[in-house]
Symmetry: D2
Subunit: 354 residues, 4 copies
């Protein structure tokens, strides 16, 4: 409630504004006795951090996580894992261009109206910087999940999209290019396009596809907390996301039941998988796959007209170093959120039977 907690048993609570002292969180419910690979956690953070390639924002933030508790002799103790990531550039900036006016399609206006005032240094709590805390917790969730494989990749940027199924992809190529698209030819086109967009001082949207494999049967809690409903919420809670579909998705509406139904093999697996690995809100052990739509980043380095607090028209201009396209850096966030959802359901599933 009140929006800063995610999960029930494997539960994350986060804090932090983009230009405050630190962001971070508390992760509760991670079972005791898991040998944590702290380098793997930092590596996930590095996948999300600014400045990692030529097509993302050139801001420099080391994003080093410090753990406060819940880990002893390298293992989780079952007690909450507190952690923080210091904001290294919170002091020197000039925010006068933001303080007194509202950037279009940002959260500036609604925060001011909801809370009465806002932390106007950057996006404050509405900044995507907040998602670094999710990446930390998600990286721990991944280590708890062990055999479940979670992969996400960029499948579309603007009009440029991969025209193959995820089954034809080699996931080991995801990290082979700055776009995080496992199809090398498409990746090149995307990269060139994003550079063009940046030169224009503009931004562009994109799609991330997620694939979860080796999922045990039985994850998901109908009727409200269906597996895909929680996955959907998790993804929609990521900054800039406008849509979520899984399995046949929006294409499925055009199909007939006789075609869409997935016939069983004798081992309980299915011949097709329009269901996307989830039936009745519960995993059936087939691959879970889904698409997430990201809008273009709202910060454009172009002049625009907007309003100030008193409703007067003002001329403004995006400042600083922003992402021309959010999807490459959002890939680890998608994986982290998927891991958090699954970890919670894995724990819940232990309580189902006598």
């Amino acid at each position: 409630m009140a929006g800063n907690t995610f999960g029930n048993l494997f539960k994350l609570m986060t804090f932090g504004e983009s230009h405050g002292v630190a962001i971070g969180g508390v992760l509760e419910g991670c079972p005791a006795g898991i040998q944590l690979d702290l380098k793997a956690i930092q590596k996930e953070l590095d996948r999300r951090k600014p400045g990692q390639s030529s097509i993302v924002t050139q801001r420099k933030e080391p994003d080093t996580v410090e753990f406060f508790s819940g880990i002893f002799e390298g293992k989780t103790t079952g007690t909450p894992i507190g952690f923080a990531i210091r904001n290294t550039n919170q002091k020197s900036k000039d925010y006068s261009h933001i303080k007194d006016s509202y950037r279009p399609s940002h959260a500036d206006y609604v925060y001011d109206r909801k809370y009465g005032f806002r932390d106007y240094r950057g996006g404050g709590r509405s900044s995507a910087r907040e998602t670094a805390s999710r990446v930390v917790a998600g990286a721990i969730a991944k280590q708890f999940l062990e055999d479940i494989e979670i992969n996400a990749f960029v499948s579309q940027v603007g009009e440029i999209k991969i025209d193959k199924n995820y089954q034809e992809m080699d996931f080991s190529l995801i990290e082979s290019n700055p776009v995080r698209c496992p199809d090398p030819d498409t990746a090149k086109k995307m990269e060139a396009y994003i550079k063009d967009i940046r030169k224009e001082g503009d931004t562009i949207g994109g799609v991330i596809t997620g694939v979860i494999q080796n999922v045990p049967i039985g994850l998901g809690e109908p009727v409200f907390d269906k597996l895909h409903a929680e996955l959907g919420k998790a993804m929609l809670s990521i900054n800039a996301v406008k849509g979520f579909e899984y399995g046949s998705g929006f294409q499925g509406v055009k199909m007939k039941g006789s075609v869409h139904n997935d016939p069983f093999n004798t081992d309980g697996s299915t011949k097709t998988n329009y269901s996307g690995g989830i039936q009745g809100g519960i995993s059936n052990s087939m691959d879970i796959y889904f698409n997430i739509a990201f809008k273009p980043v709202a910060t454009v380095i172009q002049g625009y007209e907007t309003i100030d607090k008193e409703g007067n028209k003002v001329q403004a201009k995006g400042k600083g170093r922003h992402d021309p396209c959010v999807v490459p850096r959002a890939v680890p966030i998608v994986e982290a959120m998927a891991a958090l959802v699954l970890a919670d359901f894995v724990l819940l599933n232990r309580t189902i039977k006598k």
Copy 2:
């Protein structure tokens, strides 16, 4: 947790299988002192009930709700509202065709695997019959919300879709045809198409569009419980839903930020509304609009091959009276879920400021 509760302050917990004694729920947190129009609640149930028109299932269920508590002298008392809807046809049926085999793309298989056994009478808990409880609670939420207007309608069936914006629709026409499509010409085509599908013994998917108007500024609780994330979860929790998008949705990925950004008017409203009434996860008072993808109903009245509990191949055939297309009857469910989400956020918003 464990899936049968929705909402935090305006909180619904439901129970019931399709062929048990009754379905129902408990609604907690509805503020005291609301004069309830009980007929309006029953009317919403009637919009969802089977047998209401020639294009839906011809099963006869009266779906009469009985209230147990929480209402006194016609007004809510602030205490929980308990209610139930008796299942009138739970006894006589023959379920032998379901008991020993798994229907493809139903929840039969995963329920058996998750819980160790299942209530095999119809869909049990996984039946869409469960959504009647949501409609009751949603109808109460609507009465609490008063001025907020929530409308949903069928915008696509198979390949047939309305090719106009929602702004061009007259919502008063939604109930003028059995499809619940406010565009009369499209509605006719849809109706004819659904009848053809039924004759084939097949089913077809569709899209419902939802529109929420007169929304106060400030609803939604970032970072995890963003307004659209909760709306998305709510919709994805409805049976047969495969996707959710709001505002520019999946089309927005192709747009540039300079176009997608919604410029402010001096009163804080925006000239365009690609944001779909939500910025940073918080309502900005513009219209909220969204699309929901429904797959074709899994029960087809055609012979098919499937497996039994021991993994043997068996021949089966859909029995009984099922919907050829789920979207017409899902319209009131969508509205109910939207109302529940909004009611919760309206209450939460009372706690935000000093």
Copy 3:
């Protein structure tokens, strides 16, 4: 939240006013596959119901529970168990003596002030009748818990108390007398005293002692949800309860640590048990024992002066058939609440380790 839900995984939500249509609840999270003894559930209800003996209220309410869902072929299905108990005497009564005035030390006044008005038929939601729903859920919890033994008994009425330890009691004697005191001599004195109190038109308080045996090690979730903290909350939530102590309790404040500390035996059990079976908020497998203080029932059949809604002084008089002492009928409620607390922690404990 908002007070009508108890438990996290083994979760009960209740509804109902004393003189509405019905009271009842929904129990979620009871694991699938438990063969339910429905007669045992009704038997617990009968222990709580009015009119069962000469020292309790002579109201006649059959308190028959009807189950709506979650049970199939005699076993729990893992889906929510909905149930209701009809109020059989909700219509004919005359409440004019309550409607317009506030009974001292009842909840009349605070309900009116909190909610703006109240269901003035009897105690409404504040009536102890509500606890029948807890007894139903607790009886199911007991069946889930199997080997854990939960016993409660009356250890004090007014000044009359058992002057032995619980270890000297034969719990099979609890039901041998209407007071539910396992010490026959003391029971007789209590019974006689309660009859005297009734003749005076007065009421008297008492103490219930609870004992939980065969508890597995490890139940309880520090730092806030310690086993005794949840037990305490559970007991304090029962009508008329004014205090809770466990282990050495209020006597322990006078002890020195060198005496109070419980030395270990080599098998991990302890030689003494001042800890009351709980250390650091976690069960250690020793007996859990606790005392609960109940105030005298507020409804006295004597004339008294009070105020009406406008603050005018009015003369009033208790009507009807009320309990002169609440503790005999509260024994099954205490056991039910203990069972609900334990069931929740047993499920949570399944999620603790890798």
Copy 4:
């Protein structure tokens, strides 16, 4: 759930072990726009910290809180307040006496059994050091509550107790002596007694009395989350607490209803207050008062026999600098927990009426 979160709307999640890197927490739901007095928060921490007087542990820990987020230009922003207190002495200690054996009446044994292993440096998560995080959050809650006055004081140490009512106390004297007893004569006796106990290498229990004044009518959420039930849980969750009573408490069991009932004055206040300011689980604006029993601290500086992990008998001896009596330092913790309970109910109460 899983024990590290307290409250629903005004919600605190804590982390940290006694000898890890840091302890701290995240406070969510504190309304926006509250001008925070950070010195007042540190002052509350100083009331709890070790080494503050001659009758408490002589360990030196500065307990300086660092805030990470949720505060901007001195005011709460409505976003979560993250904070941490570094553990300054986590490195040098020798824990060999604890590592391999279990201290009687500590949580060592149950933690090992529950989680499979434990952080054996001091009490780990079970150390009362954890309560410093509660004091930070409670100090913020106090500032939110403004006019509600919360006072706690030591009313009993061993057999020495104040024999006056709280109404006869001058709360401004609480801080006038190291025991935090507002009755100067009794305070002196307590202080002398505690010094004697320390010389013996022993410990002693005590009672803290809490008084809450200027409480608005209507706080508390029946039927489970009654005001006194949440207060009770809050207090029982504090280390070493064995009992809780409010209003007439355990003395009330001996009273008759005709005496115990609190007659109304015409303004709705009551002539007596055996109810302890709470009726039916809801505050009635009269003073709330309660007693909390604390057992003697388990760490005694005397030799004792105990067992090691393999169940072998070993000789051990308490080391280090521990409190001979916990109650003086527990006073600010009691106040903090009371403030957290009230803040949550104040927010919830905003959602009750139409």
